[in-house]
Symmetry: C2
Subunit: 562 residues, 2 copies
C-alpha cells in the first residue's frame, strides 16, 4: 500500500480554504499513485478551534466540508481530522475524530482517547473520551489509527487511564497511523520523535505520523511528520516549519534516514549551571528562529495584514524583532521608528538607524519630547513638585505606544511588540507603553536567549551592529538608567525564572539549588504580582514548554509568594 | 446532629488568612454546639487556584494548612475543601477533595467525580475523576458527601458518565452534604436552588449545601448556601453576596422558608422579543448590582488597594461605574476625572460634575486638547493632510487613557474601566484608550442593562442625573458623533449579541428569528474580528452565563463569520 503524508497549514474556521487544500492534497496523492492520503488532526476546521466548537453552525460547516471532501475520495482512502458527534446521550456531545473516507463513503470514524487538558490544551472542554477501539481494514491491511496525544500515554506515570494502542493490539494491526496537531517548543521536537520511536518499539509495528504545520495565533505547529519502521528506525521525515508531502510504499524496505535519535539533554534533569547553556544552545536557537519567522508570517497572513511597525530603540530586543520581521515579511513591509526622549543616549538613534540601513527597511525618527512635555504640563496642577517617579517613566513609554498605534491605525500596520520574557516575567514594562502591540515576537524568550538569537542572526554577516549587542540593557526612561539597577543580572535572573516558570519549582527548591533566598523571594514576588500586566498582553509566539498566555493560567487576585 | 454551614470569603493562595478564617469558623461552630462544621470547596487555598496547582510548593502549603486546621478539630467534625494526592500512578496527580477531619484525625477524604471543564472551569486540567464512592459515618449518621458539580449531573443529557449520588445511594445514606464554589450569574442562583431541590426529590434525603462567597478576580461567588428537607422544601438559606453562618439541627422539623421555588423564565426558551425584557428585569439587575459591588470591593481589597480613578465623560457607562465604585469603596476613595476635548459637548463636563457633586466624590477636569495637539504636531510630518480618521479618534481616547494611568501610577489608584459588553462585543472601543484599566465593572452588561442598572441605582433618589440617562450615546471623538452612526440601535444590537454570545446561535438561526440577514452578518463579523482587542482587555466582573475573558476562549487568528 502507498501512503501519502500530507503536511499542510490550515486556517481556523476557514472551511473553504482548508477543504481546498485537502482536495488539492488528495489530487496530488492520486497523481502519485497513493492508496491512502493522510492529513493532520482537525484538518477540516484548523486546530485549535476553541469555543467555536460550541456553535452548532460551526459543526455543521465541519460536516459539510467532510461531505465535500468525501466526494473527492473515489478510488483513494482519505484520513482527515474533524469533530464528530457523540451519539451516546451521556458525556460530552463531541469527539475529536479521524474520519476515514473511501470511494465516496465514510468507512470509519475513530475517536481520540487521550484528551490533553494541560498547558495550551483544552480538549476535555469539548470532547468525550473514546471508550471502544477498532482497527480499520483497508487494502488488506489492519490499520491502528490514533490521534495525537493517544500515543503519548506510555511510561510509569501515565496521565490517562486508557492506552488506545494497548486495546488495538488485541486486533493484530499491521501498521499504526497517527494524525496530530502537535505544537513546537524547543524541548518538544526531540520528545516527539522519541515518543514515536517508543511506540514502534513497544508495539513492533511501523508508524506513519502526520503532523500539522503552521502558526495559529500564538501556537506554532512545526510539521516534521515522520515514518518509523517496526525496528525503531526513522525512514522518512518531512520538512519542519513548512508544508510538505511524501508518498511511502509500505512494502518497500527503506534505509534508515538517521540511525540514532539525536542525543539531547532532557531539560528536566538540568543542573542549575546547565540551564543557561541549554536555553541558549545553538540547536534550540535555530529552531526558535525558524518558529518565530513562521509565527510572524502566519499571524500577518491569516489576519490579512502585510505591514508591520515597531519602535526601534537601539536596544537588542527591538533589533532582533526588527531583523526577524524583515525576514518574515520583507524589509519593505516593516517600518522602524526611533522615538528618542531627552533620556535616550546619543547612540540609541544612531544604532537604530544603522540597523535599518543594514536591513534596508523604512526608518523614521519621531522625538517624543514635545508629547512628553505636553503630558507633564497637563498633569502639573496635580503632580506639582512631587519627585520624578515611575509615573513619569511610564508616560514616556506610553507616549511611544500611542504614537506607534497612531501610525499603525493611520497606515494599516500591525504594531509588533518587542518585550522579552524576562521583562514580562518581572513586570519590567509599561502597560499600554512598551507592552503595546498586536503580536509579541520575543515574549517567550528570556533575555539571554534574545542575545543568543541575535548572534545566530549575525552568524554569516553582521546584521545587528556590535554596538547594539554590547551595550548594557537600559529602558532609558530616566538619566543613566540600567536594567541592572532594578533587576539582577540576566544570567542569574533567567535561571530563577526558568526554574519557576518552566519547571514549576517553588522557592525552597530554588534556594536549595544555591540561589540566594532573598533574591528568590524578590523575583518570585515580581512574577506573581505582575500577573495583572501580562493578563492584558498580546499573543506571544510560543516557543518554550511554558509560555505566558493561554498555556499558563494564574489568578490575578491571589496572595501566593507575593 | 447539629451542622454548622460556614459561608466564607477566601483569598487564593493566602493560606494563613484562609486557615485563620476556617479556625475562627470552627470556634464559632463549637461555641454554638455544632457537631459538624462545613466549609466550602477548596476553602483551604481559595477557588480557583488555577495553575498554582502545578506547584509542589503550593500543594505542600495546602497540606500544611490541613494539618493546622486538624489540630482544631477536637470534639467537632470539620469538612474543608482542598486538593488531595492521587496515589494511583495512572491518571492525573490530584483530586479535588473534601477532607473530613474529626478529633485531630483525618476521618475521610472524598473525591470529586464531575469535573467541570466548560466556561470558566478548568478542573480536568488538574484533577482526576473519582472512581469509587463511600459514605462517611459520623455521629450515627451516614453522610453522602459530594463536591459542587457532583450534584449537577441529572437530566436526560448528562455531561458526565458517572453520577456519584447514584453510587452512594447503594450505601443508604441519611443525608447529603455538598460543598461548593459555585459562581454567580444572573441565570444561576435560581438554577442552583432548582438543582438542590431536584436532588432532594430524586434521592428523598435532606441536603446541606455550603457555597463559597466572595469575588476572585473576575468570578463572583454569591454564597446563598441552603438546606432543603427530604420533601423539597427550603428550610434555611444563608445570605447572598456576604459571609454568613448558621447552625441547623438535623433532628428538628423546620418550617419551609419559602414554599415554592421562585418562578423564573428559563433563559434558554426565550423568544426574541423576550430577550431584552429578560436581560433588564428588575430581579436580575438587583442581583447584578450586588454582584458588582462585591466584585469591586474584593478586587481592591485582595489586591491591597483602596482607591480608584476613572474617566467621567458625562455618559451613562462612566456614571454607573462611578456610582457603583463610590458605593463599594466609599466616595472619598473614588476620583472622577472629566477629560474633555474639542469634540466634547458642553453638557458632558457639566453632567459629570453634577454627578460627582451628588456622589460627593473628588472630581477634576483635565482637558486633553493640548496633549491631543502635541500628538497631531508630532505626527504631522507623516499624516500631512490626510483626512481625519479613526487614528485621530484613537489618539484622543489614548491621551485620556495615558493621563488617567499617569494619575493612577503617581497616586496609587487602580483605573476602573467603563466599557460595556455591547462595545466590547463589537470592538467599539480603543485599545489602550477607553479600553485601559485594571478592572472592568460593566464589561459583562449589555448597554440596555447598563440603562436598567442606572434606573435601579436611581430607584430611591436621583443619583445619576436625568440628562445623563436621556442623552443619545456618543463617544464624542469627532463632531456630532453618535454611537448609532456606527452601530444599530442598542435594543436590536443587544438582542443579536445575546443570541450569539450567550446562546451560541449561528447566523442562520438568528436570521430565522426574524433579524435582517445583512445586519446579523455585520454584527457577527464585528464580534469575531474584535477578538484581538478583547484579548488585551482587563478582567471583567462576571455576571452573565457567558462573559468575555477566561470563560470564552476564541481563536484570534481565524476566519469564521469574519
Amino acid at each position: 500500500m502507498k501512503i501519502a503524508l500530507v503536511q499542510q497549514n490550515y486556517h481556523i474556521g476557514n472551511f473553504e480554504y482548508n477543504s481546498g487544500k485537502i482536495i488539492e492534497g488528495i489530487r496530488q496523492a492520486k497523481e502519485g499513485g497513493a492508496d491512502l492520503a493522510v492529513f493532520s488532526e482537525m484538518s477540516v476546521c484548523g486546530y485549535p478551534p476553541r469555543d467555536f466548537l460550541e456553535f452548532e453552525d460551526f459543526l455543521k460547516r465541519c460536516y459539510a466540508s467532510i461531505e465535500e471532501i468525501k466526494s473527492h475520495s473515489a478510488g483513494i482512502g482519505v484520513i482527515i481530522g474533524s469533530p464528530a458527534p457523540n451519539k451516546d446521550p451521556r458525556g460530552k456531545d463531541l469527539f475529536n475524530a479521524a474520519w476515514f473516507l473511501y470511494d465516496q463513503e465514510i468507512k470509519a470514524v475513530v475517536y481520540k482517547t487521550c484528551l490533553p487538558a494541560y498547558d495550551i490544551f483544552d480538549e476535555y472542554r469539548y470532547f468525550e473520551t473514546a471508550a471502544s477501539w477498532q482497527v480499520v481494514e483497508f487494502q488488506g491491511k489492519r490499520i491502528a489509527l490514533t490521534i495525537c496525544e493517544d500515543i503519548w500515554n506510555l511510561g510509569n506515570n501515565p496521565l490517562y487511564k486508557e492506552c488506545p494502542m494497548d486495546h488495538l493490539m488485541h486486533q493484530h494491526p499491521d501498521l499504526m497511523i497517527n494524525i496530530s496537531a502537535s505544537p513546537f517548543d524547543y524541548d518538544h521536537e526531540e520528545d516527539r520523535r522519541a515518543v514515536v520511536r517508543q511506540n514502534v518499539l513497544k508495539y513492533k509495528l511501523p508508524m506513519y505520523y502526520c503532523n500539522a504545520v503552521g502558526s495559529q495565533t500564538e501556537i506554532v505547529f512545526d510539521g516534521g511528520s515522520v515514518v518509523y519502521d517496526a525496528y525503531g528506525n526513522c525512514t522518512h521525515h518531512l520538512k519542519v516549519f513548512e508544508e510538505d508531502f511524501q508518498i511511502i510504499d509500505t512494502e518497500t524496505k527503506y534505509r534508515p534516514v538517521n540511525k540514532h535519535l539525536p542525543v539531547f539533554t532532557s531539560a528536566s534533569v538540568l543542573t542549575p549551571d546547565q540551564i543557561i547553556p541549554y536555553l541558549t544552545r545553538r540547536n534550540n536557537i535555530r529552531e526558535i528562529h525558524d518558529a518565530l519567522l513562521l509565527g510572524i508570517r502566519d499571524y500577518f497572513g491569516k489576519m490579512g495584514f502585510q505591514k508591520a511597525i515597531l519602535g526601534s530603540s537601539g536596544g537588542i530586543d527591538s533589533a532582533v524583532t526588527l531583523a526577524l520581521a524583515c525576514r518574515a515579511l520583507g524589509s519593505e513591509h516593516v517600518r522602524a521608528v526611533a522615538l528618542p526622549s531627552g533620556y535616550s543616549s546619543s547612540h540609541s538613534v544612531e544604532d537604530a538607524e544603522a540597523l535599518s540601513k543594514k536591513l534596508n527597511n523604512p526608518f523614521d525618527i519621531l522625538p517624543i519630547q514635545p508629547v512628553f512635555d505636553s503630558f507633564l504640563s497637563a498633569l502639573k496642577p496635580y503632580f506639582n513638585d512631587m519627585p520624578f517617579s515611575v509615573a513619569e517613566e511610564n508616560i514616556q513609554s506610553r507616549s511611544r505606544g500611542n504614537l506607534l498605534m497612531a501610525m499603525a491605525n493611520k497606515f494599516g500596520y500591525i504594531l509588533l511588540n518587542t518585550s522579552n520574557k524576562s521583562e514580562l516575567s518581572t513586570g519590567y514594562g509599561t502597560l499600554y507603553g512598551d507592552m503595546a502591540g498586536g503580536l509579541s515576537v520575543l515574549g517567550d524568550l528570556y533575555k539571554m536567549q534574545v542575545y543568543a538569537l541575535a548572534h545566530y542572526i549575525n552568524r554569516d554577516e553582521e546584521i545587528i551592529p556590535a554596538s547594539i549587542l554590547n551595550k548594557p540593557p537600559s529602558a532609558e526612561l530616566r538619566p543613566d538608567q540600567k536594567d541592572s539597577d532594578s533587576l539582577p543580572e540576566y544570567d542569574l535572573l533567567d535561571k530563577i525564572l526558568y526554574l519557576y516558570i518552566e519547571r514549576r519549582k517553588g522557592p525552597r527548591e530554588i534556594v536549595a539549588m544555591g540561589v540566594d533566598e532573598a533574591l528568590v523571594a524578590r523575583v518570585l514576588k515580581l512574577v506573581n504580582t505582575s500577573e495583572y500586566k501580562r493578563n492584558q498582553f498580546c499573543p506571544i509566539i510560543r516557543v518554550s514548554s511554558k509560555a505566558f498566555g493561554v498555556g499558563r493560567r494564574m489568578p490575578i487576585v491571589g496572595k501566593y509568594l507575593s
